[in-house]
């Protein structure tokens, strides 16, 4: 039985049943607040020298220590949160737009259209994600836009496959057939009849994709392919890796930020899954 959360109250109740998800949501809210108030908490440019280099944590003027050029690690993390979240969300949105559109068309029309779109999708799936992202960013000089584009381009295929599967199964449902016999246009059927019914699994995997996107961005920055004007967690770890034995805090705190963010997003994703797919949730007892 598919019980739809017609009221948001039901949805929150189902979501709150998963304690991990609530914990994840709290962490995520903390990171959002940090990102939003970064320039209030840490005014000035995070690239500027704030204190003496190689200051350990809890020293004067730098609670989490400073790096080899005297930049404040705490300020870097706060400003890096902006970049990470921005890239995670926008690249997922872009991947959703590409993936769901292609998947919906393939699943709805079937036949040749499906064959053509799926072969195109497989073309992307055969190339290792990260390698393709590195190549794309390297070709189009690193900037926020190219990084977002590169991440979106490598991460849409799973979404397309998911949307296609959902559309294919819903396509044969009688309410869709009824929409065809009552003369509704294909666009109406795709957008109003099928899409709302296929959203639950898509939302869940999109929430997990934000986490993957943040990891991808960090990896790119680690390799020095980040936006040179934006402070990012990956860049901080990459820059500090040569001195990791002398100054652990330079890579530890940005790393912790990545771990917490990705963990929080995964927990929230799982909670969404429980709340949106009550059938699976019930089996947890």
């Amino acid at each position: 039985m598919l019980k739809l959360s017609s009221s948001s109250g039901d949805f929150w109740k189902a979501f709150a049943r998963n304690k991990g998800a609530v914990f994840g949501l709290v962490i995520l809210a903390g990171i959002l607040v940090l990102a939003a108030f970064a320039s209030v908490l840490f005014p000035g440019d995070p690239w500027d020298m704030a204190t003496a280099p190689f200051q350990p944590p809890l020293s004067e003027g730098s609670p989490l220590g400073s790096d080899m050029l005297g930049r404040d690690i705490a300020a870097g993390i706060a400003h890096g949160a902006r970049v990470s979240l921005l890239i995670g969300l926008t690249s997922t949105a872009a991947a959703l737009a590409i993936g769901v559109t292609l998947g919906a068309l393939a699943g709805f029309h079937g036949g040749r259209v499906d064959d053509a779109i799926m072969r195109f999708t497989e073309l992307f799936q055969t190339i290792p994600n990260f390698v393709l992202a590195v190549v794309l960013v390297a070709i189009f000089t690193p900037s926020l836009t190219t990084i977002v584009a590169a991440i979106a381009i490598v991460s849409w295929p799973p979404l397309a496959r998911l949307a296609r599967a959902e559309f294919m199964s819903l396509r044969t449902r009688e309410f869709v057939q009824a929409a065809i016999t009552t003369g509704q246009s294909n666009t109406t059927i795709i957008l109003r009849q099928i899409l709302p019914n296929s959203l639950s699994p898509i939302i869940v995997s999109a929430s997990l994709m934000v986490a993957t996107a943040i990891l991808l961005e960090s990896s790119l920055s680690f390799l020095g392919l980040g936006d040179p004007n934006a402070m990012s967690w990956g860049y901080m770890i990459g820059a500090a890796r040569t001195v990791i034995r002398q100054a652990w805090w330079m890579s530890f705190f940005p790393g912790l930020a990545i771990v917490l963010t990705v963990l929080a997003l995964n927990l929230v994703g799982e909670g969404l899954n429980d709340a949106l797919n009550p059938k699976l949730a019930r089996s947890r007892g």
């Binding site: 598919l2 057939q177 065809i180 003369g183």
Partner: protein
């Protein structure tokens, strides 16, 4: 656990005639909090004797299957549990027995046959081994003897080449053959009680007849006590010795089959029997006036199954030279067993399937020659009512929207379409306020009414109804059929009524076309098809109708149906 020697080799125990085989006393089964009622089964008392068939009859949710599951220890633990009463098997309470003893009883002394033969067998295990499983669990027989016994059993349930069949995987067998395997499995340890939970509901009518015959002869041969669960009074009339009628978890009527069938006392039993679809003698032949509304000529459709880049697909002929004429105001029944191609023809007419060849003329225009744009105006004229009331309404849309969407797609003003939707809801016997609610708030019968309103919103001339009542309970079925008949008369609609159930067709159709394996084998007026069938297949279909020898009590024929809305 010690048990007497293997019953297959011993003389059947002589049952003490004073103690019934199964004695159910005040059985209550509790549902988890939040369910629609606290008790699934409420203070149920009945007995089952050796050598008799007790039919437990009821609609969905009446608790009839729960009772059987309680006996077999199949209740979904821990949510549903027995709250009181006792189940005495030969005087010993099954519920009070230790787990190991209960296990010995199940499959050994009490066996069960399930409804869905397609899912009740393990698809990855040869059928012989599956039958052998219960022999291995309950008897000390060595493997070769087990094998021999399996072959014997398969032979007894009337399967051809039992030795070969024992090595077959379930997917090679038809639905009827699988149900025979299930019965063989249940009989493996020569049980005293056989519980059959709607064993023929998923089968075609001719197969149903064969399985019922088999069950009856096996029961008589082995003097088993049998509890047969069904919702179909035709089946009851066919096999029951005694009948128990259940409603909302309570026993409402209990007695000898001839009494309950011919002199039902409780109003609910009377209502159920009155809703059994039956051929109404005095239905007049339809006078065909004017030009035909729809003519299908030599429609042919072949589906290609399987296939891929390197494999050739297998053609399956779903419709072969199908020709059919529908006049204005006429109801044509398309009757056939599953896979006969009746839905293919219906879906071709509403434009959901494109046939390979042939013509479908609607008021003289060939619908198949039109492109999507040219076909669009005819969408309004030909509407469809679907089979599954749970799948045919979009769960995320309000009822009013669902009905109004069609007219809006044809350019009608949304406000006007919504107002019209309310009128239509009243017409199909629902409250206008239903328009603001979502489909999950309605029962199956109510949803089917919404489906009918949606079709009517387009102001069609022809309604294609694809098994519109087969997913509904009998009493609701009767109401929906009555509604369709009433609307058809009031609006002068023509209808193509697709069904697998001849009794339903007989009740609503003027003309009947009988389909078999993609071909129409007979077409004629209802009266002619029912009283003087020409084709041998039609005769075998009529012959297979369960309970045809039973005459529904005169005072219950066409009795007014209780309750206005389902």
């Amino acid at each position: 656990m010690t048990r007497p020697s293997f019953p297959g080799h011993s003389v059947p125990e002589t049952t003490d005639m004073t103690v019934p085989l199964l004695d159910v006393r005040g059985l209550s089964i509790a549902l988890p909090p939040g369910a629609d009622r606290p008790l699934a089964v409420d203070n149920l008392t009945f007995t089952l004797n050796a050598n008799e068939i007790l039919c437990v009859v009821g609609e969905s949710g009446s608790g009839k299957s729960m009772t059987a599951h309680a006996m077999m220890g199949l209740l979904p633990h821990p949510h549903v549990r027995v709250a009181g009463g006792s189940l005495l098997f030969k005087g010993k309470d099954v519920l009070a027995m230790p787990e190991a003893e209960q296990r010995n009883l199940r499959g050994g002394r009490i066996a069960m046959v399930f409804q869905e033969p397609m899912t009740a067998l393990n698809p990855l295990m040869r059928v012989g081994r599956q039958i052998g499983e219960s022999l291995r669990a309950h008897t000390p027989l060595p493997a070769p003897a087990r094998r021999q016994r399996v072959v014997e059993l398969l032979d007894q349930v009337g399967l051809p080449n039992p030795a070969e069949l024992a090595d077959a995987y379930p997917f090679r067998l038809s639905g009827g053959q699988r149900q025979r395997v299930m019965i063989a499995m249940a009989l493996a340890c020569q049980p005293d009680i056989l519980i059959a939970d709607e064993p023929t509901t998923a089968l075609d009518v001719t197969t149903q007849k064969q399985i019922l015959d088999l069950i009856r002869s096996i029961q008589a041969e082995r003097h088993m006590g049998m509890m047969f669960i069904t919702h179909d009074f035709g089946v009851v009339a066919e096999i029951a010795h005694r009948v128990a009628v259940m409603r909302h978890g309570r026993l409402v009527e209990y007695g000898a089959a001839s009494d309950v069938l011919n002199r039902p006392q409780h109003p609910y039993t009377r209502q159920l029997i009155a809703s059994v679809p039956h051929y109404i003698e005095h239905r007049e032949d339809h006078a065909k006036v004017g030009k035909p509304l729809l003519v299908a000529e030599k429609v042919r459709k072949t589906f290609h199954v399987g296939g891929g880049l390197f494999r050739k697909s297998k053609p399956v002929v779903a419709g072969d030279d199908l020709s059919l004429t529908i006049h204005p105001g006429e109801t044509v029944g398309l009757v056939g067993e599953s896979g006969s191609g009746k839905s293919t023809l219906g879906r071709s007419i509403v434009g959901l399937i494109k046939p390979d060849s042939g013509r479908i003329l609607f008021e003289g225009t060939d619908l198949l020659s039109l492109d999507a744009k040219g076909f669009r105006p005819y969408r309004r004229a030909v509407q469809m009512v679907f089979q599954d009331p749970y799948a045919s309404l979009n769960p995320r849309h309000r009822i009013g929207d669902i009905i109004a969407q069609g007219p809006v797609a044809f350019g009608e003003d949304r406000g006007k379409a919504l107002a019209r939707a309310r009128e239509l809801l009243a017409m199909v016997g629902l409250d206008g306020s239903a328009a603001d609610r979502f489909p999950h708030e309605f029962s199956g019968g109510q949803r089917q009414r919404v489906g009918i309103a949606r079709a009517l919103a387009m102001e069609p001339k022809l309604l294609v109804a694809d098994e519109p009542v087969s997913a509904l309970d009998v009493s609701v079925q009767g109401q929906v059929l009555e509604l369709l008949d009433d609307i058809r008369k009031r609006l002068g609609l023509a209808m193509l009524f697709i069904t697998h159930d001849l009794r339903v067709a007989a009740q609503v159709c003027d003309t009947i076309a009988v389909m078999r394996r993609g071909k129409i084998v007979e077409m004629g007026s209802s009266r002619q098809v029912f009283t003087h069938p020409r084709d041998a297949y039609t005769r075998s279909l009529l012959d297979a109708i369960p309970g045809k020898a039973w005459h529904i009590p005169d005072d219950l024929q066409k009795a007014p149906i209780v309750g206005a809305a389902s």
